[in-house]
């Protein structure tokens, strides 16, 4: 039941954070092993999803500090990207996919804590108060980290696009 309900979101979070499909598979297994070992410590008054996200976040950041993924190259975004059919024209679709690819690569320039905050807010769509609970941080710190992450990514996107256009 746990696997059916939570494997997809855990795997995707690990993939978005680490940027490597293989690494994400290993991390998901490690997280589930930790989950089974810690189930006895779970307080039933708390939200299970938030508790699992905290466990996932702690494991990902611990592993990041040990292995320093930022030095590694992230998997090619196009390999996993599914082009959406909601665009008005194929050109628009290509441009949007290009932006996503640049942002995906830009994640490597964010620190682990900022990267985690941006993933939780802008990819996973969590509320700020939920992120504050997951990351055990004050609300203001979370907002500040999300802001810094978005700024960094926006600057990277701007720089890469300008380079590409020969500006």
């Amino acid at each position: 039941m746990l696997v059916n309900a939570y494997s997809k979101r855990t795997f995707n979070m690990a993939f978005q954070f680490s940027g490597s499909y293989e690494e994400a598979e290993d991390l998901t297994q490690e997280i589930f092993l930790k989950l089974y070992n810690s189930l006895s410590k779970y307080n039933f008054e708390k939200n299970f999803s938030a508790w699992l996200l905290t466990l996932t976040r702690n494991h990902l950041i611990d592993q990041y500090r040990k292995t320093k993924w930022e030095k590694k190259i992230r998997d090619d975004f196009n390999e996993y990207s599914l082009v959406s059919d909601t665009f008005t024209s194929p050109e628009e679709g290509i441009l949007k996919e290009e932006s996503k690819k640049l942002i995906w690569e830009g994640f490597n320039h964010l620190s682990s804590e900022i990267r985690m905050a941006v993933i939780l807010r802008d990819i996973q769509g969590k509320r700020y108060d939920e992120i504050a609970e997951i990351m055990s941080l004050p609300l203001g710190t979370v907002k500040s980290r999300v802001n810094r992450g978005r700024l960094q990514l926006a600057k990277i996107l701007k720089e890469k696009k300008e380079d590409k256009n020969g500006m």
Binding site: Y80, I123, N147, A154
Partner: protein, 165 residues
């Protein structure tokens, strides 16, 4: 307001979290500063792109591996269960005490004195045993000497002589 100050407000502006005064200040700045206007546009694009990131399906192999984790864990747990059986507790206690004594002996700074003391005690023990053995031997010898006399005395007891008659 300088650009640095505006940068801090772009994210809350994007999420409509500013108070009316701050909102007005940002809007006024974006009208006059092309660099900040571009940055805001890229930030908006970044946010929209992130929201549209693909969600990957988990492959079957990983799902199977995740399902097998509790049984693997159980097997491991069973294999170590014998260690917590109550019947083994006296053995573990004795082994612990023995190990403590051995480590006390090995790591004691005056190990030589302990060795000498043990030697002396063993030597004393051996000499005590030797003396006891010698006493026992002299007792058996004297018993052998008096054996015949004792037998005669027993035979001369009135009770036995009446039976013989």
């Amino acid at each position: 307001m300088v650009c640095k100050g505006i940068e801090e407000l772009l994210s809350p502006y994007l999420e409509d979290e500013l108070n009316p005064e701050e909102k007005l200040a940002v809007e006024e700045h974006l009208k006059t500063c092309q660099i900040c206007a571009d940055l805001f546009s890229f930030m908006k694009e970044t946010k929209e792109s992130l929201a549209d990131f693909p969600e990957l399906e988990v492959n079957e192999n990983l799902i199977n591996q995740l399902y097998s984790i509790p049984s693997k864990k159980k097997r491991f747990k069973l294999s170590l269960d014998f260690l917590v059986r109550p019947s083994l507790q006296p053995i573990f206690t004795a082994a612990t005490i023995l190990l403590i004594m051995i480590s006390f002996y090995i790591f004691h700074p005056n190990k030589n004195l302990i060795d000498k003391s043990i030697d002396r005690q063993i030597h004393l023990g051996f000499s005590k045993i030797g003396r006891l053995y010698a006493k026992a031997e002299s007792f058996t010898d004297s018993l052998a000497e008096y054996k015949d006399n004792i037998l005669v005395s027993i035979k001369n007891v009135k009770f036995f002589r009446e039976n013989e008659e």
